[in-house]
Symmetry: C2
Subunit: 154 residues, 2 copies
Amino acid sequence: MNDLIIRPATAEDLPAIVAMLADDPLGATRESPEDLTCYREAFALIVADPHQHLVVAERAGRTVGTLQLSVIPGLSRRGATRTVIEAVRIHADERGAGLGTDLIEWAVARSRELGADLVQLTSDRTRTDAHRFYERLGFTGSHLGFKMPLTEKV
Amino acid sequence: MNDLIIRPATAEDLPAIVAMLADDPLGATRESPEDLTCYREAFALIVADPHQHLVVAERAGRTVGTLQLSVIPGLSRRGATRTVIEAVRIHADERGAGLGTDLIEWAVARSRELGADLVQLTSDRTRTDAHRFYERLGFTGSHLGFKMPLTEKV
């Protein structure tokens, strides 16, 4: 079995990341992998912000997973810093093989290194398999997540 | 009725903000308003990050509300930028008087100014009144929010 490398994403990774974002029951309706312009613009914003950590998982030279970790300092909970995990995707060829666990465990360990007191994420209510997965990894589904679109993009 | 001012928080606002964080069924067990040291450290991190917007609502010279808005660029949803609303608190004297609506509507308008495509927040599953409030304001409770504490602080 080839070793897994988790490393910061580069602009060259964008086609593979966007393909993974789109290859998903919810992502299929939300993404436009045929035109990367909007993703390149967003990538520039991400790399310009030192508190954003967009990574890819690579195995044998292939991009097999991705997630984004964001660091948010705050006052509540005695001045707790939290990290937020977003946009977790596993390549179809790797699903069910433990890569999701590796990626989330990496994100939790990286959150500790970044000084976070709390790590959090939201998951669409229809993704019931994902909910069991996060609970097995030690997360508690204690909150409801509310969203409101502001533009035509989302 | 005195006009409401919503403005960036300063270090001088910390005692009033922490008092509001603590004056809450969940916050009462989580906060330590008798010692502001950890809050001052966290405040320094917040003001050092241009993507964090911690504000207070002021009426007739009194601090009556607070929230924090965080800007997170991302690749998913066609490179959508999202804002996250955290640590919303309304002074006990002002509850039920529409200030919560004013604050959230301000946060949504500010999110648009900041270029966000989506605004999101999580709310503890026990805060059922808050859930109805967010739905009335146009949010959809489409997600489950998962958290994992990493330190003794939270």
